[in-house]
Symmetry: C2
Subunit: 131 residues, 2 copies
């Protein structure tokens, strides 16, 4: 039987409050506030079980570890900042993907990844030395 432990609650809370896709290491850092000393193995174990229950959804970004976000989100895509490496949610989906699909191919889904600078990194690069 699945027990309710402080660690699991801390991990769920950390992911919920991140408000953007996060990886295992970042989850641990965030969960640290609610469950000090939580081990990385627990993060992986818990993430795995949360994926199985459908509470979490994986977000795969090339060149990095798999990130995770709440599964109960409407259709959206992601913005990958080349500076800080963080991934953000972007809303809307402007695309006509069926038109791009070659004849004979069955389109089942799509992924859009925008790349560039997030708001914070964009501001920093414009004003290298802050006030």
């Amino acid at each position: 039987m699945q027990r309710k432990t402080g660690q699991r609650e801390a991990i769920k809370r950390a992911i919920r409050e991140a408000e953007r896709p996060v990886g295992p290491l970042e989850i641990r850092d965030l969960a640290e506030a609610y469950s000090p000393g939580v081990g990385i193995a627990t993060i992986y174990r818990t993430v795995k079980s949360l994926l199985e229950t459908g509470w979490l959804a994986p977000v795969e970004i090339p060149g990095g570890p798999t990130l995770y976000e709440l599964a109960a989100k409407p259709h959206h895509h992601h913005f990958h900042c080349r500076e800080c490496g963080k991934v953000f949610e972007v809303h809307g989906c402007a695309g006509h993907f069926q038109k791009m699909t070659p004849p004979g191919f069955q389109l089942e889904g799509h992924e859009v990844i925008l790349r560039g600078l997030c708001d914070q990194c964009s501001a920093k690069s414009k004003v290298p030395q802050a006030s």
Copy 2:
């Protein structure tokens, strides 16, 4: 000085003839026809130098090795078959990505990955036992 070797020619020819993004292992298999016994280390070395010369471009697909394609191609995107795992080129780019970019973010590029079944796998799943 960069020499002209049979292996390098074989690798370039293999990639040129693949007509879709290919990974190191697949490059080796294809190059095998033109340079039997070519080693995987040579593939990696050659790919690296071809990237530096701008002849090749990397194609990063989540959950797999980096693929490579000829750099001299017009803007396009990719279709990832969930059955055979191969990646195909798709032409056109129907999207309004600037509209999706959050305020303060700087959009520099985008990636679109369509997922589903390629023509061959699609045909197979419809007719499991061929004629």
